[in-house]
């Protein structure tokens, strides 16, 4: 066997995608249901009191943020949990002893996480379109942006999965970093509503750029330049993909 092991890459990717689909009640439905609940709760209760932000009804305003939160949390948790699970259940030797390069291994995990991120993001997008007639201003850009963010956070998940030794460590990343940063990234508000210091602080939160970007592609409104959001997503994609592949190549934490 010379060159790229395409069949191997395809097989491991298929396994990664099949893995989360086989437990869709844990991996697909929860985000869909909780997003539906957000729409119902905000749509029927809070929207009357909060009114519009940037000329957009409140329920519509929060939907892009919900899409993004679902996308990035699912993308990162797929790759991280799959890698850690394989380590802890002694499944990793099966793929490490196969003629698969570090690049092929990394890509399979990243694509698996990207697919889960996109499936979850697109489901919430469809929920918005079907339930509250959400307009999608730039459909292709929306899908492209969901893809880019899914890839970035799936790569980050793979990096964390390789580094982690226990579920506790992964849960810590999810509960103490990703979720708070998502909520503080402007899912439920425009950062223009914040005092100056909090606005400045929001600008160092990378997830803010993801939410701002998707809000632009879906609703056409934004707090700061959509180009910056795209560049941040691209930067994170390149950074985490490179780091995840290099760590896999080094064998640290997965090989002795």
């Amino acid at each position: 066997m010379t060159g790229t092991n395409w069949v191997g890459l395809y097989t491991l990717t298929k396994r990664e995608v099949g893995r989360f689909f086989s437990v869709y009640r844990q991996t697909v439905l929860p985000g869909f249901i909780s997003s539906g609940l957000y729409i119902l709760i905000f749509g029927f209760t809070l929207e009357q009191r909060i009114g519009e932000i940037d000329g957009v009804p409140y329920t519509l305003f929060i939907l892009p943020g919900l899409i993004m939160m679902n996308t990035l949390t699912n993308a990162s948790s797929n790759a991280s949990s799959s890698m850690l699970q394989m380590k802890l259940l002694q499944q990793l030797p099966d793929i490490l002893t196969a003629p698969l390069s570090s690049l092929e291994l990394s890509l399979a995990y990243i694509i698996g996480g990207t697919v889960r991120g996109m499936v979850n993001g697109i489901l919430v997008l469809l929920l918005g379109v079907l339930l509250i007639d959400m307009p999608v201003h730039h459909p292709l850009a929306t899908l492209g942006f969901i893809f880019l963010v899914s890839w970035a956070f799936s790569s980050m998940g793979l990096l964390l999965g390789q580094l982690a030794d226990s579920w506790d460590q992964l849960a810590m990343m999810q509960n103490f970093f990703l979720t708070p940063l998502s909520f503080l990234g402007g899912i439920f508000y425009s950062i223009k509503m914040l005092p100056d210091w909090a606005q400045q602080l929001s600008l160092v939160n990378p997830i803010y750029y993801m939410i701002n970007g998707i809000r632009y592609t879906v609703l056409g409104v934004y707090d700061s330049s959509p180009l910056n959001s795209f560049l941040m997503a691209l930067f994170m994609t390149i950074l985490f993909t490179t780091a995840a592949i290099l760590l896999m190549k080094s064998g640290k934490k997965i090989k002795q």
């Binding site: 092991n5 191997g8 395809y10 491991l12 396994r15 499944q91 030797p93 793929i95 002893t97 002795q256």
Partner: protein, 307 residues
């Protein structure tokens, strides 16, 4: 292929302060059945894991059919099928699907792998379990699955790390028969085992590894002949002092009319001993021989039991 199936030279590996391998030299010819024996922590699994890319070596040559395991990893890993010691757990997929996945990792499409998967399911008695999850299988079935997985891409070299650990005697014998069959069909097999009897029965050559180094190699028969102790016990009446001179070239003891000769090969000298005794008018009541096992050799060399 003229190059040996496995060639390891000067292999070193350290884990922080612990030296796991201190210059392992090992060559396995194509088609050979080789057993690697050693006490726990001797370096068996580390050696195997380095060969298969699971552990990174510090220094040394590690080649499969003349190709470096790092530089030519695609070639070398394709030649090897490994059945790990640890039994796998998978919650998501049925057994058959897992075998197809494994073939896929080696570049074999599901269509091409189908006849091989069917053959292995049939041969290893797993046909009825094809849709079962691994957690539903018994320990013995999991071991058979491990073997099927190692063979699904039809490798030239089969590495078995404790393949019969924890399974019942009947299944162990069935697996031994299957391993013999695989060997007869040309597979090179590298086996580590806790059952020295297993190595003695199956392997053409064994290497005894201790403290990260191969300390002795040879066929089980040669090792027991060279390093083991063998003896002849003769129960007699009519001992006389002339016999002391007659047996001056032999190492023996006499206690309660029971003679014990320490010899290298009992079959070789038994006739002469009986003849000398008869010529000197001794009455022989019984004769028996004893031979060291490979286990005795192992204990002598390593100073500890294999477990």
């Amino acid at each position: 292929m003229n190059a040996p199936a496995v060639h390891i030279s000067g292999l070193h590996k350290s884990y922080e302060d612990t030296k796991a391998l201190c210059g392992v030299d090992l060559t396995i010819k194509d088609g050979q059945f080789y057993g690697l024996l050693g006490p726990n922590g001797a370096g068996k699994t580390t050696t195997i894991h380095i060969l298969t890319g699971l552990v990174l070596k510090n220094e040394g040559i590690t080649e499969i059919y003349g190709k470096d395991i790092v530089k030519d990893f695609r070639f070398t890993r394709s030649q090897i099928g490994i059945a790990h010691q640890e039994l796998p757990i998978d919650w998501f997929f049925p057994l058959e699907k897992l075998l197809y996945f494994h073939a896929g990792y080696y570049g074999i499409t599901q269509k091409k792998a189908k006849p091989r998967v069917e053959e292995l399911l049939e041969r290893l008695g797993l046909k009825d379990k094809r849709t079962s999850r691994l957690r539903q299988l018994s320990g013995g079935m999991k071991r058979r699955y491990q073997l099927a997985k190692a063979l699904v891409h039809d490798p030239k070299i089969l590495i078995l790390d404790e393949p019969t650990a924890g399974i019942d005697v009947e299944l162990r014998h069935e697996l031994w028969d299957y391993l013999r069959e695989l060997h007869q069909n040309g597979k090179t097999i590298l086996l580590t085992t806790h059952y020295i009897e297993e190595a003695e029965l199956l392997c053409e050559k064994v290497g005894i590894i201790n403290k990260g180094k191969i300390i002795k190699e040879g066929s089980p028969a040669d090792l027991t002949r060279e390093l083991g102790k063998a003896g002849i016990n003769v129960h007699i009446t009519g001992w006389n002092d002339e016999l002391k001179n007659a047996f001056s070239d032999y190492s023996f003891t006499l206690e309660d009319n029971r003679l014990h000769f320490t010899v290298r090969d009992p079959e070789e000298v038994m006739a002469s001993i009986i003849q000398i005794l008869s010529n000197h008018g001794c009455q022989i009541h019984s004769v028996s021989t004893e031979k060291s096992s490979l286990e005795d050799v192992f204990l002598n060399l390593t100073g500890k039991g294999i477990n």
